[in-house]
Symmetry: C2
DNA sequence: GTCTATAAAAAGATAGAC
DNA sequence: GTCTATCTTTTTATAGAC
């Protein structure tokens, strides 16, 4: 008793999502026309408007969903020490982002193409994610395990370093992701540790 | 004696450069029309083509000039130890990039909008800059001062961390640039130092 | 849900007057 | 060197048939 034969919604919708991520990451949001997107999906341009009211909403949905996925996946580690929780965060951040290079790229590159209201929504979610790391660093500093001059700066510095992996890492390259994580964890750990 | 009265070349050219940097950084290369650029400059669209053969060449020139400025300003420090040269690099990198937020933003965001050939040219220059830091880290590791698993990864990790300052730092904010540099230097130093 | 066709606006780039 | 005017193409989005 399923859906009618003519309903391609649950096939076309994920295809649009995948194609948009790929093309926006490769060429940039403004450089990708709805025609080019439709061609990549395998439909005509007009059909896209069954799934999004306009191009802007399509971009916004991609970024919002990505941030929600990130926040949902970033479970608070139950480890007792801040050092262990930091290790967990580093491992999680690198793996999660390495799995979604297009989402991550778009999330950093195309914020400026969001409307003011949509930007504010995405920015709030991003801030929530940063707060997870900041809480770990604050706990470690309070316990005397970490030596950090300014917690907020340290948060941004660590996230920038970790997210930078995405600019060069490719699976099957010289180093495995495990090796990469090992070295980044070593650098992050040392950078915040007390003497 | 002087130039002819009708020649506005040395006035308009830098205005185009400044306007293009500002608009490309704010809205993205593909999202800025030649008409919008002309309006920002204060001329008509057709006049722009006295200064660039096309839009692509305009973008390429901005990025190429920026990388050449960077390489020229990044003088090799004569300090005897790798640690001192690293400190010099951190200070230089943060200051140089903080002074040119638009150039830096565009250099990371709009690489994908360059033609294959133009991209290769800019990429070669970027690689040369990375090599400056990598040489410092290699020297320090060879001397036993640094403990780094992979020099190339450490290079990219440090540059990503330092360039990340540009995503949030604003002059006149909570912290001075000197304070920011002090903390980043502390984190970078610790992250590469041997036990 | 997808198609064809089209409306209406905007794009990159050029020609020729001044 | 800049202007106005224009050519040609492409854009986002909609209407109506199937």
């Amino acid at each position: 008793m399923g859906r009618t034969t003519g309903s391609h919604s649950d096939i076309t919708r994920p295809k649009i999502r995948a194609a948009a991520l790929r093309l926006f990451a490769r060429h940039g949001f403004a450089a990708v026309s709805m025609r080019a997107l439709a061609t990549e999906v395998g439909v005509q341009a007009g059909a896209l408007y069954n799934y999004t009211p306009d191009k802007q909403t399509l971009l916004f949905t991609l970024l919002q969903d990505h941030m929600n996925d990130l926040l949902e996946a970033c479970t608070s580690d139950a480890a007792p020490t801040a050092l262990e929780r930091l290790r967990h965060f580093v491992d999680f951040h690198i793996r999660f982002h390495a799995d979604r290079p297009d989402e991550v790229f778009i999330s950093y590159m195309e914020l400026r193409n969001l409307t003011t209201e949509n930007f504010a929504t995405v920015e709030t979610l991003r801030r929530q994610y940063e707060d997870r790391l900041e809480a770990i660093l604050r706990d470690g500093a309070a316990a005397g395990d970490f030596a950090i001059a300014d917690t907020k700066i340290a948060t941004l510095a660590v996230i920038a370093m970790l997210t930078g992996v995405n600019t060069w890492f490719r699976a099957g390259g010289r180093l495995s992701l495990d090796e990469v994580i090992t070295q980044y964890w070593d650098m992050v750990r040392k950078s915040v540790m007390a003497g």
